[in-house]
Structure formats: structure tokens, C-alpha cells
Symmetry: C2
Subunit: 370 residues, 2 copies
């Protein structure tokens, strides 16, 4: 795509009355314009071979020149040809984003952040939505070939990738909101940006115990599905056991793999049909918790008077439910931003890396002290 002239032409160029438009265009242009090694050399006032030596980490360059070149590389977003795994792709600026679980409101928030960060770096975002039971790796592999991607972000996915499976993906990729806890990938095979799902669920259960709860039920998509659901389930279970509470499987209900609201509603109904012998409920997502609150109300019970609820996500809408939801807030904006920035670094030849972001409780009205 280097044959494109990104400077405004015609009418657009003449619209000087547009206030911030010129700035916007020129900022974008700076980031987007595919710099060549020649441009970098010229900007730094050094030769191409010097820039090349810096980029290849060779020692025969002065510290001063090295800093200067790296600063310009940083500022311009220049991507060295040799950093991508496949040299023939180096003209593409497309970053594929496979969004798994198309009704996931948390992902909608992360996607906006990914989009604006991709924009900032001057790439083009090519999103692809798949259902939560579809295979994101195959979808990503197809997208990569069809759209000649430079890199991929998986927004949601399985935690048990194998090396063989991921060999299908020939560009650097970042797992956003998940990692490879149950898989066989080496840390150096991939990058990830996520919260610590086990710890976050552990903290949620611990929060309920601090409020005096001992009989704590759980609703989960699956207990042993090698997914985010298993991690959060085990976190909840371990927190209880660490507090000396013997695990009671009768208090746990599975949705059959689904994070959707109808499935969560039905699961809570089944749980309540079986037992009322609990004072609090751990739910792995905000929308599932909203559905759970309705199921509880439809059974004639009240939140938090009869049952306290804690969730994980921190959506805006959860601040307006009745009662408002107590939830572990995942940093959606930061998660999207970091996923792009990790991918950008890997595309520029840096090592893969794994970022664990912190989730923190947002106290609403759905948990009472007993």
C-alpha cells in the first residue's frame, strides 16, 4: 500500500477553516505514513547502514547516535522489515481483531480502545466477529490470509492452545483478555494482556467472606472446560477452601458453556429450585449477574437482602441496575490499549510479553454485610 498518497488533496486540503482538522490529519499522517529506512536515516542525519546497525543491535555505533535513531524510530512508528515473521507482508498495515462472543458487552468496550490505539499507531483495524463457540484460531488464520494481515489480536479465546494449532497463524498475535494457562505454548510463542482470572475470582469470593458470608454459591459456564470459566471457578473454590470452608458442589451450577444472559438466568433458576441454603452468589460476568438478579427476583427473593451477588467486568450499565452491581472492574480501556502496544512492539522486533492487569472491586448495592 505504499503507492497511496496520504496527504489531503483537492477540497480537503483547502479547508483551512476546519480548525483541528489539519492537526488531526497531520498527526495521523505522521503515525500512518509508512516510513522507510531511508526516511529514518535522513531525519537523523546519518547513513542507512548506521540505522541498520542500530536496528540490528550492533555495538559499533555511538550511544548518542543510537539514542537519536531509536528516538526517531519510536516517534515515527517505523516498523523494520525484518521484524515481522514474514517479509512479504511488510507492506500491509492491517491488524486483524477476532472478537469471540459477539454479545459480550465487555468486549465491545475493549474493542473501542483497540480501535483507537490501532489508529494512533497508524495501522488499519480489520475486525471479525465470531460466536463464543466458534474457533478463533481458524477464523484468525483465514482472516490473516484473506486480508494479508501484519498482526492479529484475539479478543477472547481458549486457554489451551497447542503449538501445532497456532502454527496456522503466521503473523505475531496477542491474546487479549486471556492467556495459555491450560495449553502447551511457551511464553515466548505468544503475547497476552489479561487480568489474573484466577486471582480476581479468588478476590471476589474473599470480598464476600469479609462481609460475613460463608455459604457462597457459584454459577459458571463450566467447571473444567479449560477456559476462563474454569480459572474463575477454581479461584472461587480455592478462596473458600483457604478460608476453611469445605467445598459444596450442590451450590455450583453450570450453564453448559454459555456466558449469555438466558443461560445464566436458567442456571440460577435451577440452582434455586435445588437449594436456598446460601447467602451469596459469585458470577463470572456482569451480564450474567444482571440475569441472575432477575432470576432471583422472579423467585420472590431480594438482592442483597436474601442473596448477595458479586460479578467480574465492571460495565457502565451495572452502575444503573437495581440494585447496582458490586463487581471486580477489569480495565477495559487499558486492556485494549496494551494489547495493541504489545503487538506493535513485537512487530518492531521486541520480545513477546505477557501483561497481567489488576482488577479492583467496585462496590455497588448487591452485597450486604451479614
Amino acid at each position: 500500500m505504499t503507492d497511496i498518497d496520504y496527504r489531503p488533496t483537492g477540497k480537503l486540503a483547502k479547508q483551512s477553516s476546519w480548525g483541528h482538522f489539519d492537526t488531526l490529519q497531520s498527526n495521523r499522517e505522521k503515525a500512518w505514513y509508512p516510513m522507510t529506512i531511508k526516511d529514518i536515516a535522513k531525519t537523523c542525519g546519518v547513513g542507512i547502514s548506521t540505522v541498520s546497525r542500530v536496528l540490528n543491535g550492533r555495538p559499533d555505533v555511538s550511544d548518542e547516535v543510537r539514542s537519536k535513531v531509536l528516538a526517531v524510530v519510536e516517534e515515527t512508528g517505523y516498523i523494520p522489515n525484518n521484524s515481522a515473521r514474514d517479509l512479504s507482508r511488510s507492506h500491509s498495515d492491517a491488524i486483524g481483531v477476532v472478537v469471540r462472543g459477539s454479545d459480550n458487552l465487555f468486549f465491545s468496550a475493549v474493542l473501542k480502545s483497540i480501535s483507537s490505539e490501532i489508529d494512533k499507531f497508524g495501522y488499519t483495524m480489520v475486525p471479525h466477529f465470531i460466536t463464543s463457540d466458534a474457533d478463533e484460531v481458524k477464523a484468525g488464520a483465514i482472516l490473516e490470509r484473506e486480508k494479508k494481515l501484519r498482526g492479529l489480536i484475539f479478543l477472547g479465546g481458549r486457554f489451551d492452545y497447542t503449538k501445532e494449532e497456532l502454527a496456522l497463524v503466521n503473523v505475531p498475535y496477542v491474546c487479549c483478555s486471556f492467556n495459555n494457562s491450560f495449553g502447551t505454548l511457551e511464553d515466548s510463542d505468544y503475547s497476552s494482556v489479561s487480568i489474573d482470572d484466577y486471582q480476581t475470582a479468588y478476590d471476589a469470593a474473599e470480598y464476600l467472606m469479609k462481609k460475613g458470608h460463608r455459604k457462597i454459591a457459584g454459577v459458571v459456564p463450566g467447571k473444567d472446560d479449560h477456559s476462563i470459566s474454569e480459572l474463575r471457578y477454581v479461584g472461587y473454590k480455592d478462596a473458600l477452601e483457604d478460608a476453611g470452608i469445605r467445598h459444596n458442589d450442590n451450590l455450583v451450577e453450570e450453564t453448559g458453556g454459555s456466558f449469555e444472559m438466558p443461560a445464566a438466568y436458567d442456571a440460577v433458576k435451577r440452582l434455586l429450585a435445588r437449594t436456598h441454603d446460601f447467602t451469596a452468589l459469585c458470577v463470572p460476568s456482569d451480564t450474567m449477574a444482571i440475569a441472575a438478579m432477575k432470576a432471583i427476583a422472579d423467585e420472590g427473593l431480594r438482592v442483597p437482602e436474601d442473596i448477595s451477588i458479586i460479578a467480574i467486568d465492571g460495565l457502565t450499565v451495572s452502575e444503573y441496575t437495581l440494585p447496582t452491581l458490586t463487581t471486580m472492574v477489569q480495565p477495559a480501556e487499558r486492556m485494549g490499549r496494551h494489547a495493541v502496544s504489545v503487538l506493535h512492539d513485537v512487530l518492531r522486533g521486541k520480545e513477546t510479553r505477557h501483561e497481567l492487569l489488576k482488577a479492583a472491586v467496585r462496590e455497588g448495592g448487591s452485597v450486604r454485610e451479614i
Copy 2:
């Protein structure tokens, strides 16, 4: 982008055990591959000039040949060069989607439908999110130039475009979820797919009156902002006046242009501080209604016992609020699908067109009969 080979290569091509993958790939490929007029002629077993005569609507072709050529054009998704406004762009497959109002949950639903339909036709979706107070036309014009778009979909926007302003956009575009009720565009200048916002708000107010309500308040972003808000406000107002209810401006509160939940919450608080003399409330979006229900609860009042509420959107989450929301459902999936299909038709040389989709009430628990 004609230098790209879209056929699967390497590992991917050999994975015949992937079940539906081969079919998926070949379907996509069929739609995506940039056919030339030569390919069409060859497939039909006729000369290039014959294909050209058919595409230009010339009479000197037999009906049999004409049908054959049009069938192949239809099947392959071939886009004649002369249909796009700008010949030099004919090699791009990128459709820009400018999403205005980045927290709009209704748009999230429409966007997924747009994405899957763009995929089906073999284009590449390039989304761009802007806030609800940003200028989508400028954003679209920049995106068009930066990404060499073939066409644009505006998901959300103003209703008062001028010809001069839209001259900045040099590719066909579709207004999705809005039209040009307050602007100076001719119908032939643009395409649109939306509900009838005036009529939908009219129907919502009429629904409340059928349930016995006469004192009906309204919360709106703005009463005369030439936006979707004004259309919905006037629909509500006219419905009341047509039923012989004199308009009472004291029952209408503006949010200052915002569709966001915090602004809606504050507006309802202001309304309730001024008057309790109404039995029902018309709100122009589901999320605003969810915030309104919280404001009402925080004032110690109940929905629907003290105040009934009706909204417009029909989100899934509104089926799980307490009480569930009575709302006019916009067909999100269909709206996205039709927007792409209208754009596809225009890109293939058909006339611009305007589709008005029907919104229908979904009865929840937020309206009571009095």
C-alpha cells in the same frame, strides 16, 4: 490490491480435514476475488464488448445473453468500474464504517450485523469509532482518503447534511439508523436505512395513552437540535396533541445533547425535583431508560406503580432489568444487513435508495394500565 493471491496456501490449503473450512474459504473467495470484465466475458463465453453492452443497458443484446451475463455478475459480485464515483478507487475492497457514539449498545449490535454482511459480500470492514459529539462526515472523509475506501457506512449521524458538506465524501455512502429529514440533500444524493423515528416515538406515546396515561413526561437529548432526538421528541409531542392533550413543556427535560446514562439520570432527577405530576415517561433509548429507572428508584418511587416507562431500542439487557423494559424494538440485525446490501447495490451501479424499517413494541413490565 490486485497483487494479492487469495487462495489458501501452505498448511492451510492442505487441511482438508477441517470440515466446513474449505467451503467457507471458497465461498469467501468467490465473493472477494476482484473479478474483471474479462473474467465475466470468459465465464459467459461471450466477448468483452457484449458484457459491456449489457452493463451499460444497451438494447443490442439478446435477452438470453443479457440474463446469462447478469446472472454471472450477480453470482460473482463483480463491480463494474463505472459504478463507483471514482474510477481510481476500483481496486480497493475496503468499506469504512464510522460509528458515532462509542457507548451506544444498540450500535454495537448493528455493527456485528454490518460486519458479517460485509464479510459475506467479500469486502473488508474498516471501522472507526468517534464520540457522539464528533463530526462523522469529517471522520469519514479522512478515513476515505487514508484507507482508500470503496464505500462508507455512517452508523449514527446528523440529520441535517448539506450538499456542500457531503461533497467531501467521494465514495458512495449509506446513512445507517438515520436520514436527512432536516438537511438539504436530495434523495438521489445518498442512501439510508433507518426506522421512522418520528413515527416510532409517536407509536410509543400512543401505546402509553392506550394504557390510560394522559400526563406523559419526556426526557430528550434536545428538542430542536435537528437530530434523531428532535424527531423523536416531535413524534411524542404530536401523538399527545393528536389525542387532544395540550403540550406541557414543564414535563419535558433535556439532557444537553447526550444519550449517555449519567446525563439521562441527572435529567430525570431534575424533572422529579420540579414535578411529580405525571404517570408515565417517554425515553428515546433503552440505556437512557435504564438510567431513568434508577433515578426514579433513588427518589423513592417505583416503576411501574408510580411511573410507567417506555423506550426505543430493544436491547437484550432490557429483558433482564427490574422491571423488564417496555420498548420499541429496532431491528438491529436487519438494519445492519440492509445498510451493506444497499451500499453493495449502489457500488454496482444501482440507484441510491432509502429503506424505512418497522419498529414494534416489546411489552415488558415497565408500563402499567391505569
